[in-house]
Subunit: 507 residues, 2 copies
Amino acid sequence: MKRDKHEKLMDLAKRRGFIWPSFELYGGVGGFYDFGPLGSVLKEKIIRKWREYYVIREGFFEIDSPSILPEEVLKASGHVDHFIDLMTECQKCGTPFRVVDVIKEVTGEDIEGMPREEVQKFMDEKHVRCPDCGGELGSIFEFNAMFRTMIGPGTKRIGYLRPETAQTIFIDFKRLHRYARGKIPFGIVQIGRGFRNEISPRQGIIRLREFTMAEAEVFFDPQDPHHPKFSNVAGKKIRLWLASDQEKGKTETMEIKAEQAVKNGIVCNELMAYYIVLTKHFLIDLGIPEGAIRFRQQTPGQRAHYSSETWDAEVLTERFGWVEVAGLAYRTDYDLRRHSEFSGEDLSVFLPEERRKVICHVIEPSYGIDRTFYCVLEHSFVQEGNRTYLKLKRELAPIEAGVFPLLNRDGLPEKAITVLESLRLKGFHVEYDESGSIGRRYARADEVGTPYCVTIDHQTLEDDTVTIRDRDTTAQVRVKIEELPKALNLLLREGAALQDVGVPMGL
Amino acid sequence: MKRDKHEKLMDLAKRRGFIWPSFELYGGVGGFYDFGPLGSVLKEKIIRKWREYYVIREGFFEIDSPSILPEEVLKASGHVDHFIDLMTECQKCGTPFRVVDVIKEVTGEDIEGMPREEVQKFMDEKHVRCPDCGGELGSIFEFNAMFRTMIGPGTKRIGYLRPETAQTIFIDFKRLHRYARGKIPFGIVQIGRGFRNEISPRQGIIRLREFTMAEAEVFFDPQDPHHPKFSNVAGKKIRLWLASDQEKGKTETMEIKAEQAVKNGIVCNELMAYYIVLTKHFLIDLGIPEGAIRFRQQTPGQRAHYSSETWDAEVLTERFGWVEVAGLAYRTDYDLRRHSEFSGEDLSVFLPEERRKVICHVIEPSYGIDRTFYCVLEHSFVQEGNRTYLKLKRELAPIEAGVFPLLNRDGLPEKAITVLESLRLKGFHVEYDESGSIGRRYARADEVGTPYCVTIDHQTLEDDTVTIRDRDTTAQVRVKIEELPKALNLLLREGAALQDVGVPMGL
C-alpha cells in the first residue's frame, strides 16, 4: 500500500517525538494531541515568531488570563446562544455526528453556512446515512460546543472553557485602554488554549477539542480605520478568493495590491488589509511557500455571529486541501457594545481632539497555532531519493545542532560531551548522539530538521577543531571549538552561509 | 491608614498592568487573576529562565499536552479518590469554607494534615464559627477539588481539568522512554495551566483556581538514585526545616551541605538533594535573597497521596509569611504502577546491563509560577525616600528600555521614534514615552522596573548620540546610536556595567 505524504509525516511525527494522539494508554480520545519533546519546541518557536511580529515589532500589548470564564461573560459575548453545532446521531450504532461533517463525508458537499431550516431538508433529499454502519440518521438538533463546568462548590456558578481568548481582552478594555494611555488605535494580544467540544472529531490535529490560539484585537475609531504604517504594505500583493465568487461556484482567486483592495471596497479597510499582508509575511517567514497561501472571504452564512467581514488565511496541504490557519474578522463594536449592555458599564472612549465619544471597533487577526504547526511540518517534509528530511527554517528547528563523536572510543565521546555542555551553557538547544555510524546519525538529525551537526574526530584531539555539517547541502566546514558558539550564532540567527564561518572540507 | 508593602505593591501591580483580578467587569470571581501587559512578559521571562535551567542546561525533554483529561487517567492517578478538600458551610449566611482555611482564619492554627476524624472534634472543641457573620458552621464534608466537565455530546464521557501537568507525562512514559533511547535516568518537563476548584479562595494570587505550573519528572532506577552531576552541588548548603521539628513545634531550621543531608538520611537520595540545590539557585537567580528561602519537609499527614517524601521550597513574604513556591516530591513508582494496573500495559523497563526489569521511581520538582511571580515582585519592590521602584533583575524586566525624547518638540519625538523602531527590529522590548517631564518619565519607568532609559536630546540631532540612564544608580552615559543595540545587549544580557558601554556624564 502506497502511503501518502501525510501518513509518512505523521509516522515520523509520532516516532521522533513531534506529536502523537493523547491518552493512547487508555485507548485515546478524539480531538486531543500531545506535543512531544521536538513538537513542543517547534510549537514554542512558532509562538515566539508570532510574538516577534505582534508584540515586539507592532507594539501590541500581551495579556494572559484564565481559560475558565463565568457564564455572564459568554452570555454577553453571544457564545451561550450562538456557539452551536448542529448534530445528529445514527439511529442504529449511536455514533454522534456534526451535521456539516457527515454531509461532507458522505456527499462531498460543503454546507457550512446553510440556514438551519434548509439543512434537514438537504439531508433528507440526499438520503445521507451513517458512514460507519449505514444506519439511518436521526433528526438534527443543536449542541453548544463549549465545555461546561462549575466554579466552586454547590453547582451555583456555571463556567465554560473559553471558546476563544478574545473575550477577556474585551472585558479588560478599560484597564487596557488606560494602559495604552487613552490613545487609539491600540492592539492587545493573547496566546493560550482555546476549547471547542467537537462532536466527533476525525481529522487529527486539524480538528482539536483543545488547541492553542494566538489572537490580536485592534481597537480603533470606525471613522478612522487607517493604519499608520499602511504605506509599508500598500503595494504588496494578496491572493483573495471572494465570497461572491464562491457563491457562484468559481474557484479562481484574484491577486491584488493591498491598497487597491481597499480602494475597490473588496477589503473593508486599511487595518484589515494591513493584517492580511502581515499574516501572509508571517506564514512565508515560517516556511510556507507563497503559492500555498490564499485568503478566503467567508460567505455571510459562514461568518461567526460577531463578524461583519471575515478573511480566512488558508494554506494548501496534501491531505486536507486548503486548511484555515487564521481568521481575520471585523468584529465591529459588537463585543464592547454587548459587554456594555450586559455589565452596565460604559465602555465608550472620549476622543478629546474630536470632542466625541465612540465605542471602538475591532479588527481581529486570530491564528490557530496547531494547524499552523501542521502546515509548517508538511511543507518542510522533503523526500530526495533515499533521504527524508525536514527542511525547517533554521530558526524554527527544535534541535539547533547535533553533537557527535565520530567514533565511540579514543576519548572522542568525552570530548564531545564537554563541547555539548559548553554549548548548552551558552543557551543552544543541542543534543548528543553516539549510537550507530556517523552516516546514520546524520540521517537521524536530518529527519527531524536539525540544521547543523558538529562532529568531534581525531583531529579535534590534536588541534581543537570540529566539523560543522549543513543539513540541506551536506557540505562541511572545520572551525575551532572556541569559535563554535559564534559560528552557530551566525548560522542560526544571522542567516550566515556555512562557508562564511569556517574552512570548507572536501567531500 | 498605613498601607503595608503588599497593598502598595498590588496597587502598583493593578495600576501599571502587572496583574489584576479577573472578570472585574462582572464583579469578579475569586481565585482568578489576569496578567496584564507587563505581568505577562515578566511571567514569560520567569518561565524562560526555568526552561534555561531544566530544558537547556539539564537536558530535560519538554512535552505539551491537553489540560482536559478523561476520567480514567485521574481514577488511576488517585485524584478522583484523593484530591479532596474538607469543607463546611455557614448555617446562617451560607458561605462555603475550606475547613483548613476557616480554622486558620479563626484560631490561627494550621491543621493541614490532621486526620479527618479528628478535624470535626477539633472544630467543635474550638467553637469555630463563621468569620463573616458569626453563624454556626455545619458538619464537614468532602469536596473533590477538580473541575469536572463532559467530553463530546451526550454526557457520556466525564473529563476533568488537570490538577497537575504530571499525569500526561506518566501515561506517555513508553513513548518518552523510547525518545530518551531507553536510558535512565531521564527527565521530562511540562509547563502549563493547572486547575484546583478552590472552595472559597481569599488570598489573591497565592490561592488560584487556575494557575501556571512548571513540573519536572525524573525517572530513575530506585537501586541507583545517583545524579551524574551531584559532585557539582555536593558542597552547597541548603536550609531545611525538618518534619520532626515541626511536629515538636520547633521553628528552627538547619543549614547543611547537600551531600551531608543525603548521608545522614535527612534527604532521601542524591537526586532529591540535587534538585533542592537547583531550586535554591533558580530562586536566587530570579532575585529572591538567599535568606528568604527555606525547604520545609512536609509531615506525613500533609503529603499528597502519591508521595513518600516532600520538600516545599518556601519564600518569605511580608503579607503571607512563608509561601510555598515549589514542591519536590518523591513519588516512588506510585504513578507508573497505578497506570500499569489500570491500563493493563506493562510500564516497566528492562535494564540490559543488570538483566532485570524495574518500574522507574520518580522525583518531581514542581513549581508554581504565579506564586513565584508574586515573590519576585515583592522582593524587588524598593522604597527609598520618595522613590519607589522595582529592582527586577535586568533580564527579567518586562520593558528592557524606555525611549524618550527630552522635549516634545524640535524634531526630538520623530528622532526618538526612529530609535525605537530600530531597537524593536533588533528584538528589544522597548516602549516610547513623551508625556510629562523627563523626571516624571524616569520615575514611571523605574516604577515598573525598566532597567534603562534612552533619551534623545538636542545633542542627538548634532552628533547622533543618546544618553542611557541606569534605574538603580540613576547614573547616565552617552553612546552613539549605531552602538546602542550592542550596548543594550551587553547591559541586559551580559551583565555589563554602565560605564563599560559609554562615556559617563556629570550629574
